[in-house]
Symmetry: C2
Subunit: 257 residues, 2 copies
């Protein structure tokens, strides 16, 4: 049996306002067991408060401290270094950076900004990085699912600025090992006794494996046929979070495809 | 002595409407010698016709057939494959693709599009590539100089789509070896007897070296202190195109820094 169960949100527990079938019951079952359940997300289109509200309105029962977001990790990173960020972020979460001085920026933050990904913003980020400002990426996701569509995520634009300026971003959130370890520090589990469940074969699965966790890819959310062949390593492949919880409770954590 | 001299345009011969000091005389001197001079550019904010006009208005004397552009190479590539491109290109050169069917696109072209690099266009490109459409990059440049500013170039956005869709672009223009060889095919020179002169250490210098040509980096245009240390390989470093022509005529083609 795994000690800790880390669950990605969008695409694993819900898609927009729709629950993934069986997700609610599966999470309750895990929470009633000895597993320590944590919720981990790179989503940067919602504030922490509205994520919690969304989860609870869907029927999930969790405490504030059980939710770990890449945006929080970005805030901490900036605070520790007392930086003045130029933020390419979604208008929904702009307020999360209100307590930072943003005039004469000396750092760049790139999160999922949707229409904020325009040439003017990206050029400003690039120019700052070229002059030596550190680049902070909120996640490194390639794309996400929005309704029936797939849309480019922050990772693609982080890579664009990295390439143009010839720099390497610091990534907070998944797939950063630091992030996984930070989540686990709130549990009594070790990486080897923890299972990360996600629909993103890179951010969730590859990231978790790299950090020493077990991992499980679900066939919901943004999962596309063949994704499991895109990375190396041993991990499980299940239809949905229901199977992942089953697996966590059974203790059978190795590849199942 | 080199047989062929390949000259990049912007940043080497001129910056906007201003000639690089000594450029006009240097090019004339090269053209009066036995060197076969060619003009090669990835610029995709101007049509071929307006590039020729610009060069001539600055006083350069060249024939149509001596100018090689990445946009032309893109057109040829699409024509040979009878593809229907979705084009992220600058409004100035949109007309260069008017003779292609662009409904129900089955290919993606990314050139320097300036404000055309928006989230909607990039997502469309990404989605087509995810479904298998080939991605054609017009150059792979990281940035270019515009007045006192540096701005992100097509390469950064090609990389973004490559990363998001998990595909590899075909690059036309510099630094593609095919492009350099195509230019040389219009001369009687071999790669080893040709010198490429540019201000872009990746597209011009690294690309040329990779294609088997000699290369010379100039300290004008977008050149930034230390650029010469960003790649491996033997090449010359001179103050401007004047020194590059000197070098081509002298036959001394190895690193000079």
């Amino acid at each position: 049996m795994a000690d800790a169960l880390l669950l990605d949100l969008s695409g694993v527990l819900y898609d927009g306002d729709d629950l993934v079938p069986g997700a609610l019951e599966a999470v309750k079952r895990a929470q009633r067991s000895e597993l320590e359940v944590r919720f981990v997300t790179n989503t940067s289109q919602k504030t922490r408060a509205s994520l919690l509200q969304h989860l609870r309105s869907l029927g999930f029962d969790l405490e504030q401290a059980q939710l770990f977001t890449a945006v929080d990790a970005a805030r901490q990173w900036l605070q520790q270094r007392e930086l003045r960020p130029f933020c390419i972020v979604h208008e929904n979460i702009r307020g999360e950076f209100d307590d930072f001085e943003q005039r004469e920026p000396n750092a760049v933050v790139i999160a999922d900004a949707a229409d904020g990904f325009n040439y003017a913003n990206l050029n400003r980020a690039f120019q700052l990085c070229l002059e030596g400002a550190p680049l902070l990426g909120v996640g490194y996701n390639r794309y996400f699912k929005s309704g029936a569509e797939v849309l480019m995520d922050a990772g693609a634009f982080i890579v664009a600025v990295e390439f143009a300026a010839g720099v390497k971003a610091t990534i907070v959130g998944k797939p950063s090992s630091e992030f996984f370890h930070q989540v686990l520090a709130s549990t009594s589990s070790t990486p080897a006794r923890a299972l990360m469940v996600g629909d993103d074969v890179f951010g969730d699965v590859e990231g978790a494996l790299h950090a020493g966790l077990r991992a499980c890819l679900v066939r919901t959310g943004k999962y596309r046929e063949g994704d499991e062949a895109r990375i190396d390593g041993e991990f499980a492949l299940v239809d949905s979070v229901e199977g992942a919880v089953e697996l966590a409770l059974s203790g059978q954590l190795t590849r199942q495809c």
